[in-house]
């Protein structure tokens, strides 16, 4: 296990540098000037541009820019927004909110997704299974922002059960509706994945052997079918974090939440290149780290991985 952990961390290092480099490269080295783009159609005074370039190290060779940026990252310096505010400041404020939102969403999608998927898998071909499949297909095919608008309209405006926008404190109670919106697509994927995996495992030889031992159906399902079916679901949750991040940008935009996603949303709308890069870079780092954690969790769930050489 120790060896496995070490190896995964080592493998993460090139991915970390590669991914941040890629993002940095895209923004600051591709044709198209992020600084000019910032000012839109009205070119700023010539001096201003040079000043901004110096501030973002854009006057130095590209590789130096990148190394300076990465060096800053390790010292907790995430850069500054165009308005002059340190990105780390914005993060400190935005992060707890998004963490709450993501926790709720993960909870919804994992718990309900696994329950619905399990029941559907156990009753393959029955009415419940068919309905679960149809609903999951619908959820995947409707974009998150449409689901967001509709739920916001129905629950926020027509029924008045929830606030249409979230206050800046963003307590859990106000985040329930946005979390449901955020979780919807992933919920559908988890239902489909769990269902397929449960149906597969039900046919596995070891499940038949477990039944032959004299175990009750309940125990066979919970100990042998469910446990084994969770392995691919856990792996999916890691990859899914990426979808949650994109979803958070959209969802937080719709519900006007001042989280990480909402900040990126506004930065994108306003064309604030460096803010977008900093935030996306950090999201990618979170994604990479989360996937590492998921891999370790995966190894905990599946001894074949844990003991692999």
């Amino acid at each position: 296990m120790l060896w496995y952990t070490g190896r995964r961390i080592l493998q993460m290092i090139p991915v970390f540098f590669g991914a941040t480099f890629l993002i940095y490269f895209m923004v600051f080295s591709l044709p198209g000037d992020p600084i000019l783009a910032l000012y839109g159609d009205r070119p700023p005074a010539p001096g201003v541009i040079e000043q901004v370039r110096a501030q973002y190290n854009l006057d130095k060779p590209f590789i130096v820019q990148y190394l300076l940026y990465i060096g800053g990252l390790f010292q907790g310096d995430f850069g500054t927004t165009y308005s002059g505010r340190p990105v780390s400041d914005v993060m400190a404020q935005a992060f707890p909110i998004t963490l709450r939102l993501a926790t709720l969403a993960l909870f919804f999608e994992a718990v309900f997704g696994i329950i619905v998927g399990l029941v559907a898998g156990l009753r393959k071909g029955k009415l419940f299974d068919a309905s679960a499949l149809v609903v999951s297909l619908l959820l995947i095919s409707v974009p998150t922002f449409v689901i967001g608008f509709v739920l916001q309209y129905v629950f926020g405006i027509q029924l008045g059960w929830a606030r249409t926008t979230v206050s800046s404190a963003a307590p859990y109670s106000e985040l329930v509706l946005p979390a449901i919106v955020l979780a919807s697509v992933s919920f559908a994927y988890i239902v489909r994945l769990t269902r397929a995996s449960v149906a597969d495992n039900l046919n596995a030889d070891f499940v038949r052997t477990a039944t032959a031992k004299g175990l009750s159906r309940r125990r066979v399902v919970s100990v042998h079918v469910l446990r084994n079916s969770l392995v691919p679901v856990v792996t999916f949750l890691g990859v899914d974090l990426g979808a949650l991040m994109v979803g958070a940008i959209v969802t937080e935009g719709i519900f006007n939440i001042n989280g990480v996603g909402g900040t990126v949303y506004r930065a994108v709308i306003l064309g604030e290149g460096p803010t977008v890069v900093s935030f996306v870079a950090i999201m990618v780092i979170i994604f990479v780290v989360a996937n590492l954690l998921v891999d370790l969790l995966y190894a905990l769930l599946d001894p074949r991985i844990r003991y692999a050489k």
Partner: protein, 314 residues
């Protein structure tokens, strides 16, 4: 032994179980390839016909929007019609700008479908080539390609697209498709690589090697055809997800510019009218969802047809 109870020696009447020739070929059935089998399995499913019919319709609309409406989606928008209810010749009413909703949906199809198709083509072709070379030849090439793939894989597709789109000067359906493909190729490449790895370990590849077939010909003739099935499934499904991704980018204002008619743009613009005139938002959403749903459904059917294990379970 005498004190134990035994079954008596029993012989079944021979006419009851006549002995048939050992291992005789059953010639009563017609010969069928795996693709024949897959086609047969798809043919029997209503969802295959529904999704294919929808896809044919959608692609026709995308290619020849003029056939489906004579109303111009842009010109002739009159503010007097703002948020107007359906009238004769305008079955779905008007947008806030007074444009015909039906015409905008018809003309918006092209952008969405183009992005979906081109992104899928790019991803599938590059994924198949990269994945099969890496999986088949292994070694340094494999290690290099896999690490590069890991890096791109670490950036969620739409997140990467947000960054790249925000610096790209020109935003057309082509560039959007290209940008999505840049971050989505590792998925197909990984699947292809895995399939190629397992196919190239199979006995028929060893057999062909021993028969004297050259290594590259084995890749083309045996390995790739036997590895392509999972890629086809994922490609079909990802076509739908690319359409959603384009809409999401357009909704965020960094996808297609407002001058290009697309469902994503229309939905984004309609968000202000959701209280007064929700169908302006819901109708293009429905068009988009039906398109995505068609590809997802087709992907499911194809998966069931190509996966013999899934077929046996049914």
């Amino acid at each position: 032994m005498q004190n134990r109870k035994f079954q008596e020696h029993f012989v079944a009447p021979i006419e009851e179980t006549p002995v048939v020739a050992v291992d005789k070929l059953d010639e009563s059935q017609k010969a069928r390839s795996t693709w024949d089998d897959a086609w047969d399995s798809m043919r029997r499913r209503p969802s295959f016909w529904i999704s294919s019919a929808l896809i044919v319709l959608i692609v026709t609309v995308a290619a020849f929007p003029g056939l489906f409406t004579s109303v111009s989606p842009n010109l002739g928008c009159e503010l007097a019609n703002s948020n107007g209810a359906p009238t004769a010749g305008h079955p779905l009413g008007f947008t806030r700008q007074g444009c015909d909703v039906y015409a905008r949906i018809i003309f918006g199809t092209q952008a969405s479908v183009t992005v979906g198709l081109i992104a899928t083509l790019l991803v599938t072709i590059s994924g198949i080539i990269v994945g099969s070379l890496a999986g088949y030849y292994g070694g340094f090439l494999d290690a290099f390609v896999s690490r590069v793939g890991d890096i791109f894989f670490a950036i969620p597709t739409v997140l990467g697209a947000i960054v790249l789109m925000s610096v790209i000067p020109e935003r057309t359906p082509l560039t959007v498709a290209f940008v999505l493909a840049v971050f989505a190729w590792p998925q197909i490449a990984r699947i292809m690589r895995g399939a190629v790895l397992s196919a190239s370990n199979s006995d028929y590849v060893t057999a062909s090697t021993a028969l004297g077939v050259s290594k590259f010909k084995i890749l083309l003739r045996h390995v790739v055809p036997n590895s392509i099935a999972p890629v086809i499934v994922v490609a079909t499904i990802s076509l739908g997800t690319f359409i959603v991704a384009e809409a999401t980018l357009s909704f965020l204002g960094i996808g297609l510019p407002p001058t290009v008619m697309s469902w994503g743009n229309d939905i984004a613009q309609a968000q202000t009218s959701i209280r007064t005139n929700p169908q302006v938002l819901l109708l293009p959403s429905a068009a988009l969802s039906i398109t995505v749903l068609s590809f997802l459904m087709l992907g499911d059917v194809v998966r069931d047809a190509l996966d013999p294990a899934a077929r046996a379970r049914r």
